[in-house]
């Protein structure tokens, strides 16, 4: 890590690495990266106290583009990695980055249980409703009539509703953002990171290459008409009935985060190994 002092750490540029992103021009993930660095600057955290963990996919490249600690993990397993990290190093700020394929399909089960455990970390899913890195296959959030050669006539499958699932599974903070509004997204990220427990932020992030129709999202998004609630019942009704383009914090829970005490092992690893010697 570089030896940045606290003052320098407060500029968004100081959270960016020297590696240039290779996303397609026009990709929403550029904005998300900008929101990350603006949020970190707003929080004023030294880069070495932040860890960005990811899985696999276009969105999961983000740790390399930040100047924080990073872990570009296994497909769908970012939350498992991050949970282990946060439990053992609770003083660190852990932000997990994923996409709709990595997060909801390959990592779907981890998503449920991360919400349920409510460990104090922030999960950011850049949802473009397609597997971009592998050339445009339908993801769990793709519309049923998304018609391509890989899914002729569309999959016909009902899309996954991540916010409802997060709420039902126990996430303590739920928000939806649009990548094209980096300042607003950065503000939500700041709040999500500060909120105790598991915070889930879905960012609608257009894939201009495989979903050019998503360029229209900038005209469809709108601020949530009502303030966030801490009542899960109200939140469920709102999230279930909104149009999917409601932007802002939608739910702020007050569940106590799960923070198990991790002490020194009672048995040394070398002792355990002896039991398994052949």
């Amino acid at each position: 890590m570089s030896g940045l002092d606290t003052r320098l750490a407060c500029k968004p540029a100081d959270y960016k690495s020297d590696i240039k992103p290779i996303w397609c021009p026009g990709c929403g993930d550029y904005h998300v990266l900008m929101s990350f660095t603006r949020a970190f600057a707003e929080l004023g955290l030294p880069p070495e106290q932040i860890v960005v963990v990811s899985g696999i996919g276009c969105s999961s490249r983000i740790p390399a583009y930040t100047n924080c600690y990073g872990f570009h993990g296994v497909h769908g397993r970012s939350l498992a990695l991050a949970a282990g990290l946060k439990v053992t190093r609770p003083e660190l700020t852990v932000v997990v980055a994923s996409g709709d394929g990595d997060g909801y399909s390959i990592g779907g089960n981890h998503f449920l249980h991360a919400c349920r455990r409510n460990i104090d970390m922030t999960y950011v899913v850049m949802d473009n409703r397609v597997y971009g890195m592998t050339k445009g296959q339908p993801s769990p959030t793709t519309e049923p009539d998304f018609d391509t050669a890989l899914s002729p006539g569309g999959t016909g499958l009902r899309p996954f509703h991540p916010l409802v699932i997060a709420l039902a599974s126990g996430a303590n903070f739920i928000a939806r953002c649009f990548s094209g509004e980096p300042n607003a997204t950065a503000s939500v990220l700041v709040e999500a990171i500060r909120h105790p427990g598991f915070s889930f932020v879905e960012i609608l992030s257009p894939c201009v290459t495989f979903r050019p129709d998503e360029s229209e999202w900038k005209h469809l998004v709108h601020p949530a008409p009502v303030a966030a609630t801490s009542d899960p019942g109200k939140a469920a009704r709102r999230i279930m009935t909104d149009d999917g383009f409601n932007i802002g914090v939608l739910y702020r829970g007050d569940r106590k985060p799960y923070a198990p005490q991790v002490g020194r092992p009672s048995v040394e690893l070398s002792e355990l190994e002896k039991d398994f010697e052949l």
Partner: protein
């Protein structure tokens, strides 16, 4: 892009300097990003255009800092509220970038940004009751008007490309 929704309130010269500084700094960040994107995607003509625009914005940013004198614009800008949902006026729309875009498109993006900045400073000038803020906003508006003219002049060098500019004989959507 949703425009400058939730514009920061300007009540003093320090606010105006800080906001002007942030506008230019944000523009520098965007043009740098776009230049890097085009470098990655091997579009050297666009790299040059975006680097030039970035350089110009950096000069404006540094000039504002110099004019602000003892006012710490960097710190003050950080303390001011951001532009609500939207971007600051000169932030070009990254979502409008395309790997086959031409200098004409880049300059159109820049033109839109300069026009938004002009509108912003004009609006400050017309609405403030502080005479010093009014005078400075007027100066900034004049500068932005000059930038708009400059981009128009640059556009004369680059005619609008044919409608087929984005046609790629080897498109990324291979399965369609």
């Amino acid at each position: 892009m949703n425009g400058a929704v939730g514009v920061p309130k300007i009540t003093s010269l320090a606010d105006l300097f800080a906001v002007a500084y942030r506008i230019e700094a944000d523009a520098v960040e965007r043009y740098e990003l776009l230049a890097d994107q085009m470098e990655t995607h091997n579009n050297p003509e666009l790299v040059a255009v975006f680097r030039d625009l970035c350089r110009a914005e950096k000069i404006h940013r540094d000039e504002i800092q110099r004019l602000a004198g003892d006012i710490d614009v960097v710190t003050h800008a950080r303390q001011l509220p951001c532009w609500g949902r939207g971007d600051s006026p000169e932030e070009v729309d990254l979502g409008a970038a395309h790997y086959m875009m031409t200098p004409w498109h880049a300059l159109q993006m820049a033109l839109e940004g300069e026009k938004r900045a002009l509108d912003f400073f004009t609006s400050v000038m017309e609405t403030t009751e502080d005479s010093q803020v009014k005078r400075l906003a007027e100066e900034f508006a004049e500068e932005e008007a000059e930038h708009v003219n400059l981009v128009h002049r640059l556009l004369r060098r680059y005619p609008q490309p044919a409608a087929s500019w984005s046609s790629d004989p080897d498109p990324p959507i291979a399965q369609e």
